[in-house]
C-alpha cells in the first residue's frame, strides 16, 4: 500500500531523513520507534504532505500512485490520515462542523454526493460512542481547551469518521493516562481491517502492548537502522536507545 524508497528530506539546509525505505501492506500494523530527534515526526509530516519540508531524493507512493506532487488535502482524499502529535486548536469551529466540512470535501473530491445530514448525525453518534466521547464535546470549538487526552481521543474520533486507508499515528500515546490509552487503542483496533494499514510512531513501547504491531522499525539519525517483529520493541524497552546509538557509532 505505502511504499517509500530512498527518501531524503531536509528543512532549510538541514538534512533530516537520509534514505528511508519502508513497505507497508494492507492489513499490517507497523511501529516506528526511535530516540528524540531521529526524524520520526518528520517522516509522518512528509507522508502527509507538509510543505515545510523539502524532499530532495526518493519517492513515496500509495497503491502505486506517486504522492510527491500532491497537496496535503489531495493525499487526504486518497486516504492518508495523520493523527497529530500536537493537534491544533481552532477556536470558533465546532468539532461537528469541522468533521462535516472534512467529510463532504473528501466526498466531493472523490465524486460522491454530500453525506445527508441525518446520516452524518448517525455516524457521528456511532463513532463518538466508540471513543467514549460525550456528545456535548462535539459542539465545542475544535481542540480549544481540550485536555491532552481529549485531543488525542478527538484525533482517533476523526480517524474513525474519515475511515482512511493509511493512518499514521504520531505519538498518540503521549499525554494519555492509562484509561485514555486503553480507549484510544481499543478504538484503533476496532478500525483495523485487512483493507487498511496503520503506522504507529512512538518513543515508548507502552502503546504497543495495546496496538500490537506486525513489524517494528528503529529510526535513528534519519535512517531505519533495524527492523524486526514485535519482540524488537521489548528489546528496545529493556536496553534503551543507547544500545542503538552504540551499535551505530561502533
Amino acid at each position: 500500500m505505502l511504499s517509500i524508497k530512498n527518501l531524503h528530506a531536509s528543512i532549510g539546509d538541514k538534512e533530516i531523513l537520509k534514505g528511508i525505505n519502508l513497505e507497508v501492506k494492507a492489513g499490517e500494523i507497523h511501529a516506528i520507534m526511535g530516540p528524540n530527534g531521529a526524524g520520526k515526526s518528520t517522516l509522518a509530516s512528509i507522508i502527509a504532505g507538509n510543505e515545510n519540508y523539502e524532499v530532495t531524493e526518493g519517492e513515496i507512493s500509495l497503491d502505486g500512485e506517486d504522492l510527491s506532487e500532491l497537496a496535503p488535502e489531495e493525499r487526504a482524499h486518497k486516504g492518508v490520515f495523520l493523527s497529530f502529535q500536537y493537534p491544533v486548536e481552532i477556536p470558533g469551529v465546532s468539532v461537528t462542523n469541522f468533521m462535516r466540512t472534512a467529510i463532504n470535501e473528501t466526498r466531493k473530491a472523490n465524486g460522491q454526493e454530500e453525506m445527508p445530514a441525518n446520516e452524518m448525525l448517525k455516524v457521528i453518534r456511532e463513532k463518538s460512542e466508540l471513543l467514549e466521547i460525550d456528545r456535548k464535546f462535539l459542539s465545542r470549538s475544535l481542540n480549544e481547551g481540550f485536555s491532552g487526552g481529549e485531543k488525542k481521543r478527538n484525533e482517533i474520533f476523526q480517524m474513525a469518521m474519515l475511515e482512511p486507508k493509511l493512518a499514521i499515528l504520531d505519538e498518540t500515546d503521549s499525554g494519555l493516562d492509562i484509561d485514555a490509552l486503553r480507549i484510544v487503542a481499543n478504538g484503533v483496533n476496532k478500525l483495523k481491517s485487512d483493507k487498511n494499514a496503520i503506522v504507529v510512531i512512538t518513543h515508548y513501547q507502552r502503546l504497543l502492548d495495546y496496538i500490537v504491531p506486525d513489524f517494528v522499525h528503529v529510526l535513528y539519525n534519519g535512517k531505519i537502522v533495524k527492523s524486526g517483529g514485535k519482540e524488537l520493541a521489548h528489546e528496545l524497552e529493556e536496553k534503551g536507545y543507547d544500545w542503538i546509538k552504540q551499535e551505530q557509532e561502533a
Binding site: F84, I90, G92, R100, T101, A102
Partner: protein, 438 residues
Amino acid sequence: MELKEKLLSSFMAFEERVDVHSELHDVRTAAIKNFENKGFPTKKDEAWKYTSLNAILKNDFTVFPKQENAVEFNHVKKYFLHEIDTYKVVFIDGVFSSHLSSTTHEGIDVCLMSSALTKPKYKMVIDTYFNQIANKDESLTSLNTAFAIEGAYINIPKSKVADKPIEIMYFSTGNEAALLVQPRNLVIVGENSHVQIIERHQSLNENPVLTNSVTEIFAQKRAIVDYYKIQNDTLEANLIDNTYVSQQKESHVSVHTFSFGGNLTRNNLNFYHFGERLTSTLNGITIIGEKQHVDHYTLVKHSAPNCESFQDYKGIYADRSTGVFNGKVYVEKDAQKTNAFQKSNNILLSDKATINAKPQLEIFADDVKCSHGCTVGQLDETAMFYMQQRGIPKKEAKALLMYAFSNAVIENIKIPELKQRITKIIATKLGVKLGFDL
C-alpha cells in the same frame, strides 16, 4: 480654492438659509471658528499620525448639492435589512427621502434632525442634548456642528422598547462630481429603554464622496443601546465617523463597527461615563484589501466606580491595505473597581499590508483591572496544514480560519437577520461559500 476656504465661504452662504438669531446659531458660529483655527487634521497631529486626508481634500467637493435626487427603492433594497420590518430614516445626498423612509412619532420619535432643530416642541430636548457630548475642540466635529442641519433624530422615552430596529441610511447618488455630506444624528434613550440601530453610508456610483458624520448617543439609567455600523462602501467613498456616547448608571451601550470597504474610513468612537455599574462594549471587524485604509480611534473614559468596558477589534488586511487601531482607556481617580479590557487581533494576508496598533492606558485609580493585547500575525500555517490534512482544501481552510477569527465579534450581533447578512458579506469578501453557518 482650498476646501477649507471654500467651507468658510460656504458658511456665509449657509447663514442666509438659517435663523441666525437662534441659540443654535451661536453654537454653529463657535464651531466654525474652531474649525477655522484648527483646520483639517494632518499627520502632524498625534491623533492622525497614521491617516492622511491630503489626497482626499484635493477633490473639489460640492458642499450643498444643487438638486434633489430621487432613488428607486428597488435599486437600493439590497442595502436595507429587507427581510424584516424596520423603521427607516433615509437620506439621499444629505437630503431626507420621505419616499424611502418609514418614520414614527407613536410612542417613540424616529424622525429628522431638521425638524428637531427648528420646531419649538423639540427645543428643550435640543438645548439639553445637542452638541453636549460631542468634542467641541475637535476640528472635524466642529465642522460638522457648524453645518449641522440634517440627520436622524431618535428619542426613546422612559421605559419603552423600540418595537423594531431602526435603520439610518445615507445614500450618495454621485450626481455631483464630488460631494461632501455632513450628517448629524442625535439618539436619546430614556431610563430602562431599549433600542437597536443600524447605520450605513452607501455610494451608488464611483464619484468621490466625503462623509463627515457626527452622532451623539445618550443612554439614560439602565438603558440598553445596540448600535451597528456597516461600512461596505465603494473605493471612492471616504467616511469620517465621529460618535460620542454618554452613559448614565447601569446602562449598556454596544457599538459594533463592520468595516468591509471604502477608500478611507476613520472611526472616532468615544465613550463617557456618568454613573456607576455601567457597561460599554466596542466591537469591530475590519476586512479590507486593495489600497483601502481603516482607522479605529477609540476612547473610553472611565469616570465612575464599578464600570466595565470591553473592546474587541479584529482585522484582516490583504493587498496593500492599511489598518490602524488606536485604543485609549482613561481611568480617572474616582473610577475604582473599573474593569477595562481591550484586544486588537490582526491578520496580514500580504507582505504589503500594514497595521498600526497602539493601545494607550492612562490609569489614575489604584484598584482596577485593565488589560490590553495586540497581536499581528499571518494565518497559522500549522492550523492550515491540520485542516488540509483532514481533506479541507487550502482556500476553504483559509476561509474557515478567517471566519473562526471573526466569529467572536459576529456572535455578538443581536439581530439574527443582520448576523446572517454580515456573515454573507464576509463570505463574499473571502470569495467562498461555506457549507454551514457558524
